[in-house]
Symmetry: C2
Subunit: 401 residues, 2 copies
């Protein structure tokens, strides 16, 4: 598709009659708008001269302290000095890429992986090598094989990028046993781990999983975000990194943006200090669980038996794989005509894989709309399957997975 075709498609997809299972926008309907309005007003009234002024390149000290308390919920013990506040997690990805990646370096990432991270790694001319996953997340044996094969080819591996909890887009979670094994493999091979964890507190049934950073402070850079536990519109995330890396990140961040917004940091700080934020996160979890249930139920009911999909225990996304020969990218315009949108699987691979797969988001629409969207999508898929029976599967060679 050309850029203008994609734009035209998005313009149609954003119409209200289209059910979008494409976006990753958090659902903010559960937020206490009146209280937030008051919190924002109070920050200016009580501390406006500081909130509206330039701040520290590393981030506001009080917010950094609160961040260490939030991370303690996932077994991380960190000092506020270890934390750098960033303009969303995306900026942390950019800073890390800037510091570590030389053109041609290899970055290891799950197959599939977060599209925004892949884009940033590519901006710095990294070569991305994907590692296979199953329902328990990244497969340690595949990681070992990939390391050997990359090293045999003479290339340098800079880090492993992983989303252990409620993976975007795969919807799976890395088991605790595997976390330990992967930490061990990374240490043995002197490969840094970038643990990206925006959804960790949004698990549906259980206590938060223990972060990998909780078991390795030397070799894991942890990325956190307020975008999903509070709101993305303030653009506040953070990274926790070993001292020398953290110092380089602060210098690079100052060169990029001088400092993160004092107001945004103080507003979040005041929200976490004065509002029942853990209850609010529980509300988010309930809201997303209800939508996850609606989507899984609709998939069971409407999708063809030949399709498979993951069953997320948290987060925003289901990863569905259709029978071979159904190109989800080619199918998208027909889906949008049927008033439903999704993201084709190839977006989440650096190497053209993912042709028969798609990411389905359940975070934003109502449960009823989700069910209606899946029903519409199933109809489109059924038509594709009929065409395929009539004319045979598309042969896309190595693009099949």
């Amino acid at each position: 598709m050309t850029t203008s075709e994609i734009r035209a498609l998005f313009a149609v997809a954003s119409r209200p009659e289209v059910v979008s299972l494409a976006g990753g926008m958090p659902n903010l309907t559960a937020l206490p708008i009146d209280e937030i309005s008051k919190v924002f007003a109070d920050v200016i009234l009580h501390d406006g001269q500081v909130a509206l002024q330039y701040g520290s390149g590393q981030g506001h000290p009080i917010l950094r302290e609160q961040i260490t308390e939030i991370m303690a919920l996932e077994g991380i013990s960190a000092h506020p000095d270890d934390v750098i506040v960033t303009t969303g997690s995306q900026q942390a990805l950019d800073l890390i890429s800037r510091i570590f990646i030389d053109p041609g370096d290899v970055v290891l990432a799950e197959a599939p992986s977060y599209v925004g991270a892949l884009g940033t790694f590519r901006q710095y001319q990294a070569k991305i090598v994907h590692i296979a996953m199953d329902d328990d997340g990244l497969i340690p044996e595949s990681l070992r094989e990939a390391i050997s094969s990359v090293r045999a080819s003479g290339r340098r591996i800079k880090f492993l990028y992983t989303i252990p909890n409620f993976h975007n887009p795969a919807g799976v979670t890395l088991s605790l046993a595997r976390r330990r094994e992967i930490i061990e493999i990374a240490r043995q091979n002197e490969i840094l781990i970038i643990e990206d964890n925006p959804y960790g507190l949004l698990g549906f049934n259980e206590e938060p999983y223990r972060a990998m950073r909780g078991d390795d402070q030397e070799n894991v850079i942890y990325l956190g975000s307020f975008s999903k536990t509070f709101a993305p519109g303030l653009r506040v995330g953070w990274a926790v990194a070993p001292h020398a890396v953290r110092e380089k990140m602060v210098m690079a961040s100052e060169s990029t943006i001088l400092c993160p917004s004092n107001f945004a940091q103080m507003a979040i700080s005041r929200y976490f200090a004065t509002q029942p934020w853990l209850d609010q996160i529980k509300n988010f979890r309930e809201l997303y669980r209800e939508r996850r249930d609606a989507m899984l139920e609709a998939l069971d009911q409407h999708f063809p038996v030949s399709a498979t999909w993951t069953k997320p225990r948290g987060g925003f996304y289901v990863w569905a794989t259709l029978p071979e020969g159904i190109d989800t990218k080619a199918m998208l315009p027909r889906a949008i005509t049927a008033r439903v949108a999704y993201v084709p699987g190839t977006a989440f691979y650096a190497d053209g894989f993912g042709t028969w797969s798609m990411r389905l988001s359940y975070c934003y629409p109502t449960p009823e709309r989700i069910q209606e969207g899946v029903r519409r999508l199933a109809t489109v898929i059924d038509e594709e399957l009929d065409l395929r029976e009539t004319f045979g599967p598309i042969n896309r060679g190595i693009n099949n997975v």
Copy 2:
């Protein structure tokens, strides 16, 4: 000085008894805090679901339209599509550097120039070539000579970075005749101009100067900021660039931060739509003019006759040059002991020049404190001059200017 020495120095310099003529923090005491508090609260109450959500990578359409109205005050005619909103002007500098600079490329900049820009250009491994200024700003003949000499050396010039109005740190303003001449030189030599204009609306006596972008839409990238006309704590700036450059900047920005803060943009947009912002800028001008007057008066009264300084017609800074042999960097610890701080001139050069110069900011302290600070500083300088008479000048070879 080592990093820890600099830190120790800053720790002392930030004590309340020290008059800081070092910082570039805008003076926010004139802001209508109650009204701003209400504006922020209203943005959330009326439009919280949008303000707290992810936004457009290019920036909020309504704010981009308001930005074109603000720029019209300086003779710029632009369409909102030409504008990209950035996380402060600093991010625009970073994006432009990322797009244009290959290691070893030459960037032309005034002598002296803004320390934050020099730092960013260096991050991308540019070689910075300084162009001389006088009281009318950048000297066209020096620009021509620099272009010839760089080209003769076989290097590639990527752009000219210039701050035409109320220069940081030089405190001078580029004359209108020279603006036209420099635009012509840049065009003839196919060198892009980066026009950085954070202080343009903060002139003391007159209408705003016509921006260079107003006379050249093809070859000038204009950078604006709300940090000085409103407040830096929201981190909102912008760039206006030719279409192809603007598109690349949006893509690079999305890769760096996904999108600028919707809340910050909508808060500024509502402030400009509902508050008497032009009157507020007039208040800022009055506030800074009063402080400029206090500083110039104190310099006349206390500084040695052998010193020279610029007489800014707007902005935040005076650039003072002491008699040769007085190393302002070496003198700084003694000044801080005397309870006054400034920034040594060498910070504003990529090549070690500026040894006898210093930047004096009048933006933040009260007029009384400014006068007291200059008085203290003059005492320190007098002691240095006495030492110099006794022991002779320091010989720093090529570092002298």
